[in-house]
Symmetry: C2
Subunit: 360 residues, 2 copies
Amino acid sequence: MSRQIRIKDIAAKAGVSTGTVDRVLHERGNVSPKAKVKVLKVMEELGYERNIIASTLAYNRVFRIAALLPGFHTDPYWEQPFSGMERALKTVRHYGISLEPHFFELFDPRSFLQTVGQVLENPPDAILFAPVFLKESRTLLEACRENGIHNVMINTYVDNPDSLCYIGQDSYQSGFLAGRLLHFGLNEGETAMLLNLEVGSHNAQHLIDKERGFRDYFGQFPGQHIEIVKRDFEDFDDRQKLTSLLDDLFARHPRLNGIFFTNSRAYKAVECLPAGIVQKIKIVGFDLIEQNIRHLRKNNIDFLINQNPVHQGYMGIINLVNHLVFKKNVEKLQYLPLDIVVNENVDYYLKRQEEFEIVL
Amino acid sequence: MSRQIRIKDIAAKAGVSTGTVDRVLHERGNVSPKAKVKVLKVMEELGYERNIIASTLAYNRVFRIAALLPGFHTDPYWEQPFSGMERALKTVRHYGISLEPHFFELFDPRSFLQTVGQVLENPPDAILFAPVFLKESRTLLEACRENGIHNVMINTYVDNPDSLCYIGQDSYQSGFLAGRLLHFGLNEGETAMLLNLEVGSHNAQHLIDKERGFRDYFGQFPGQHIEIVKRDFEDFDDRQKLTSLLDDLFARHPRLNGIFFTNSRAYKAVECLPAGIVQKIKIVGFDLIEQNIRHLRKNNIDFLINQNPVHQGYMGIINLVNHLVFKKNVEKLQYLPLDIVVNENVDYYLKRQEEFEIVL
């Protein structure tokens, strides 16, 4: 059969509107049986086979989405948004969507820029990315503007009016929430620490926002004496250095009784702390990755804040399809729930992560 | 047109299987355009109109579901599962489902039994109910057995092998979780109280299970000295008596620093406590009802555990339809997430409550 069949040809031959053909094609209901019969008959005559070439038939084009994410080898967290994208792709592939993943080095802004360069050699219709490097992300956003490439951001919000949308947590609120949780467990005179186990945290907008939220929470109680200490540490993969850091922190701050880990690496520090201390001090971290969950189950980590990364990736694709294919308006800021996860509810959230599905 | 049109008549006339007709009827896909055309043509000839009489056509019968719930006037919580049932009904009404709500008095087991009597005068196909009275619920379950009435329980789990399923929280786990939250905020030597603001709490299985979970949480730390005190109180609607009770409790237990309210009535006690005390002591309650949320936003209540009541009602109907109409097996125990709700995430959960939808 010819690839040139268009919705309007079917509509004309069936004597119905293109909207009706579209509704039949995507089984969106609201079509009289009579009209449906006509449309299906015409499709049959033209040799139409549903699902296999629906997109070509309907839109006669393919939309290429490039995904830019950190590679999983440095941080298993990034597997989750990618798995969400892949799951979404299964439900929208027949609309003519292709997904081209590109992975950069998590701690290397130059690798990010190199990947951007590769992507732009053959510009896609849209880019779905995690702007983990603030400065370099601005470069990418500028390139999108110049080349008319749609873009959606997940994980980290960067203020950019051209972007189709941001899907992820409200980082400020998540820092504020972490403040609430630690404050609940701490006493007057104790010390709370914010620990960025990160490379280049000054260039990570979400960490800046989390810190602001965390400090603002404690700032609500000016009469109270809970000391807030912040520390950036880049050598978190060196167990010996991390152990020394922690020893040093506890020596400097003898009343240190709560730590807020601003990303998915709480488990790295927990593994360097003596059992007696781990059980005693209050720990709040992020992300339902396996290593963290193990320590949550042992009560080594008290609370994990879930950023719903699978959902982020999934909704990134869905929003692009809604915009590119269906020409729908999408909401600019799509904050996902900040689930507070403990041993008693972790299994529900893990299960839900596997189950949700949006029907287009 | 006649009401006697049956799936097998359509199938015979169209020369396809009944399964194919069923798939076309419910737009479940996997039907060739050719077969679809045939089926739709036959339906058209027979004067079929989709949605309006689909159920009659497809199954030639109506399924009557009776819902037994406490009236809203005593406790606004019960509006939520009912709203979930009504929402589900909208999506399944065309399968021939009717919902007959019956309301009993929340604190009056006799009113429950009277309502059961009314329902049984014209036995429905299924009963969806909240077994808030343990003993009287057993009577109802016995009657269901004798009359061959399917039943689904929400909110409170009662062990009963005949029931189609239970949908709701794991009460033991929610008590355990409340223990964790208070334990996190309490110090050695302080007192934690479990307060049942309830009539007849000994006859409420979910309260018994919550208490067991709560005590078991603290039982994990035998070396620690946190005193657990429990109190049942029935006169919670008398503000003066409730105030006296609280005064008395704080006088008896000078180191009382945390209260676990085992149902949706935390706000009633909060409104009887002096501001200074409310802000100081740790409070964990249940349920996202307006009165509680107001106090959560003011930091008077520290944590609310969400039982997802709208979802309970919704899934109660959906599971009955899956069983009655589609003859599907359903899971016996369907625990819903125990969301830990604070000011920073309450709006997400309220929004989600309005949004979810299951596509059958």
